[in-house]
Symmetry: none
Subunit: 421 residues, 2 copies
């Protein structure tokens, strides 16, 4: 049972809006163990919608088409489906009554073009609207099926959950296919995608002929590399069990080769990882930022309950602010010494147990004899200081973003080390 | 000349990430007058990528495929293209040297699987990487062409602008299609999309039957509403002339109804607008942030040359930091008085001419008797203080983001007012 999603709308092709419908449908299908191998976007053009639907029917068992069901001249999905089904459009009297009632209940006069929404391909079943006027459609095409839903997310999600998903699951169980998909993402920082791939290469090889468990890597830019494990089981418990087993194997391989680079699971961010450790330890934090310019502080305040451990920070962009407010000695400000003084200085100034600092060169020019990408992270934990030296790639915004997550990662690792010793 | 975009990645089908690449490419193609009738998403599966590419070639003249060019086992786009071209993959010695050099320059050992990225379909032209290791490819298929780019947006956009767009424009002009599209975006802050639409309604009506000039609204979330004007001329000068005329009309209508809400054009950000005014005035700036937690400072340091006017900031997240460091009187910290004291306090502390502050309630709970979304912006300009009171919608991250841009907008408007008087 393979479902293809076809999103209709010239605005999608022009990039004027993001296609959140296909993303949401993909997530729902996967969560229910229904395979989806292709998505398409197509504009508001009769011939092209017909072609997209025919293409989808050749390679998938069911098609969910969203958009183009409204009352205006560019809402032409109904007619395209009728052509693919090779049937006429017929006006449905019950729908006419419903649509008129929608307007009457709101004390509004119905523009006549709204009745176009009552024209449905002969043989289609109607999915009643509960949130708008455009009805959804279930359209049989031989043994296959086209589901049509409005493009408005709020209406589309309702119809999917209420009518389409139950119909798909019934069709799937009629074919004897029974499975549930579960997936989990391990978030890593500090290793390249290729190094990670090499670390878990043995699992990749072992899983080549396994159609139940898959591993994939997602490079998510400044947030590191994600390792996604997906498992298909006969039911939820089975999928979770397969997932847990595979996660243990993958984690062991990663840790053996690359060390403690997994900082979170699924939606856990690096700042979440830091927050958990500070809370466990009962410590408060202050940050001093030069090159990162407030990025670290703005990440930290996104953690729910940050006020219980986050005191605040100083953005010491001008050198004088480092000298006057944080006690850095006059002279070069991109150095390990400046970093540790900033960390200790901000912890003292704001009354925190832990100080974290970043000083560096975002580029493009060098500074204090240090090339662009040079970043020093300072840590002050209960008065004990240390630093980490980094060389980061990329342009100014990337050096800043990498610097921010790298500094948080350095603090995460040091707090873990202190917790063990 | 029709271009189809094919985005490769099982994570797209599963809805784990949004397909921002197709959206961006669609926007760029449209802006350059190149038609795009279809997009596809396909998973990391050899047969299905081959099928998606063949489908695209039947209905479009060129295909841009993004993703699946990395160094890991699930990066299989190269092999799929080779099959569609009916040629073997061959290892390119120059690419081997480049990829080895990328790692050597960073003092890292290259995992061997990185050399997979040097395997290219015979007959393909290489698009050199400037930001990573996976090269792009230009692959002729008869009279048509497949362009392959990495899925990492930062690398994809670079290759599109540097190599693919020029190649597409050359192919387009070879077909004798002649017209140039120019577009311009007016960036606004502080009005709703419907209010903007109402303000320029007379131009919308006037342009209904004009196939040369179009106006569209793009809601870009926390960055306000964009008004995009697009003009198609017989050449660049003609398109620009149409664009200038329409921009003047649209600006006049907006200003007459909604005031000074246009803060920038095209890529100009709110922080750019503030920076220009500070430079003109010869003033330096310091910021004190509570609810925004460093977001304003991190936006300001992204402006090139910020060090000539930006001193730095204080993230006064804990109330004690507001009292002890900024001189706020003990008591409620979400108030107009606290905001202006923070602004004056941070200007004094960091030695700046202008102080900008934000204090407020991100929610979900109220604070100091103020409901979530309450934000006070404080301004201190050469010692003269004032405040702006805001009620912002949305969850915690949105209140923060809206608060940051609103504070910068308040400073922009006040600096303009002072420049006139």
């Amino acid at each position: 049972m393979r479902v293809e999603v076809v999103a209709v709308g010239t605005e999608l092709l022009l990039g004027q809006i993001a296609d959140t419908n296909s993303q949401w449908l993909g997530e729902q299908l996967a969560a229910n163990g229904i395979a989806s191998h292709f998505h398409q976007h197509v504009g508001d053009n009769h011939e092209r919608i017909v072609l997209a639907l025919r293409t989808a029917l050749t390679r998938s068992d069911a098609v969910i088409v969203s958009g183009g069901l409204g009352p205006t001249q560019d809402d032409i999905t109904r007619a395209a489906i009728a052509e693919v089904m090779n049937v006429p459009l017929e006006r449905d009297p019950a729908l006419v009554t419903t649509i008129r009632g929608f307007f009457e209940a709101r004390g509004r006069t119905m523009p006549d073009n709204n009745l176009l929404q009552a024209d449905v391909p002969a043989g289609a079943t109607i999915i009643a609207q509960s949130r708008g006027t455009a009805p959804g459609l279930i359209c049989p095409v031989g043994q296959k099926v086209i589901y049509a839903v409005p493009g408005v997310p709020y209406e589309m999600t309702d119809m999917f959950e209420r009518a389409i998903l139950p119909d798909l699951l019934a069709r799937q169980s009629a074919t004897g296919e029974r499975s549930t998909i579960a997936s989990r993402v391990l978030r890593t920082w500090g290793a390249s995608e290729s190094a990670l791939a090499e670390a878990v290469a043995s699992r990749f090889s072992a899983l080549v002929d396994d159609d139940r468990v898959t591993i994939a890597f997602l490079a998510s830019g400044i947030e590191g590399i994600k390792v996604r494990i997906t498992a298909r089981g006969v039911d939820g418990a089975h999928a979770t069990s397969l997932l847990n087993d595979e996660e243990a194997r993958v984690r062991a391989l990663i840790t053996a080769t690359l060390g403690d680079i997994v900082f979170g699971v699924d939606d856990e961010t690096m700042e979440d990882a830091v927050a958990t450790r500070l809370l466990t330890r009962g410590s408060t934090l202050a940050v001093a930022e030069s090159v990162t310019g407030g990025l670290i502080a703005s990440r930290l305040v996104n953690v729910a309950g940050a006020s219980s451990w986050f005191r605040g920070g100083v953005v010491s962009y001008a050198s004088e602010v480092k000298f006057d407010l944080l006690g850095v000695a006059r002279g070069p400000v991109v150095s390990p010494e400046a970093a540790v003084t900033m960390a200790r200085g901000v912890a003292d100034l704001l009354g925190a147990d832990v100080g974290l600092s970043v000083t560096g060169v975002a580029g493009p020019e060098e500074q204090d004899g240090q090339p662009a990408g040079t970043v020093f992270v300072g840590l002050s934990i209960d008065g004990h200081v240390q630093h980490v030296a980094l060389r980061l790639p990329g342009d100014r915004p990337r050096v800043r973003a990498y610097g921010a997550i790298s500094a948080l990662d350095a603090l995460r690792r040091e707090l873990d080390r202190l917790a063990v010793t």
